[in-house]
Symmetry: C2
Subunit: 153 residues, 2 copies
DNA sequence: ATACTTGCAAATGATTTGCCAGTGT
DNA sequence: ACACTGGCAAATCATTTGCAAGTAT
């Protein structure tokens, strides 16, 4: 509901725009590249490179894992894609501007909570006040104890 | 300078105490195990498993990497050791209660800053207020843009 | 035509595991 | 003695890289 006070990232309105960004850089629109983009648009949340290569559980044609990594890197360098790490697992990729919530995870029970809107802004402001850094918590999440686990001991 | 208001973690007064913790669990004090502990006590900051295995650059006898990982895991399960991740590199290990500062890293220039005392408490409070989680930022660091890089674009 | 890209295999880096010989208690 | 450990090799997992063949522009 609240409008972000922060500069909105690239925020692509559609797949077409993403393809345009590629063209603008002299990069080619190969079927493998288009597939990665389609997977990210189709995904309901951040996905692993492996899931993209697997065609999102068969919903899309499968492709080569190495190429997927290469394309995700390329797209990330263009600002079209972002990747995050949750716990010790593989990286999770998503379109920049989508699924851009902060994450907070419990290192005991694994509970994960998304931080959005005002709450996200409040934490960001606190960090900026404390050390001057502008943090997003969307690459490496915040890790700590959820209320339940914190109470137990 | 400032004294922490928070409960001090396990905080082992000495190597002897750590060894006592091991004994109390029926675990043995092997030379390899003692070496890992000595390395952590001798380290000036968080170190990689590889550095421990290498005897901290030769200052201590070298040992087997797999055993170092096993011992670090054992010690971490006992609460004697903690490990953190900085960027995409290998994990960094330290004694619980030592080098327990929060970390904030810039994802552009790599600058890393330690968050201590009041600043650390302020961020922790903000996170708790926002989502109820008690976060330490010492496992996965906060990642964002340092003031310089944030200003550049 | 000519780069940019792909797909596949092999390489890397970090961490884990199987196993049997070695050793604290 | 006996169970816990260490050392070493081999296995995993995630990700990267080398290269020859393929293809968008």
């Amino acid at each position: 509901m609240t409008v972000s006070h922060h500069a909105v990232p690239v925020h692509l309105p559609s797949l077409v725009a993403a393809l345009g960004t590629l063209r603008a850089q002299g990069l080619r629109i190969s079927s493998a590249r288009r597939l990665v983009l389609e997977a990210l648009f189709a995904a309901e949340g951040p996905v692993t490179a492996d899931e993209v290569a697997g065609g999102l559980d068969g919903r899309l044609p499968a492709s080569d894992l190495a190429s997927v990594y290469r394309n995700l890197d390329t797209l990330e360098a263009l600002g079209v894609v972002r990747h995050v790490h949750v716990g010790h697992g593989p990286g999770l990729y998503a379109l920049a501007g989508r699924h851009e919530t902060g994450y907070v995870a419990c290192d005991r029970c694994g509970t994960r909570v998304a931080l959005e809107g005002d709450a996200l802004a409040a934490v960001g402001d606190a960090v900026r006040a404390a050390c001057g850094f502008a943090c997003a918590f969307d690459h490496f999440p915040l890790v700590g104890r959820c209320p339940d686990c914190a109470a137990e001991r």
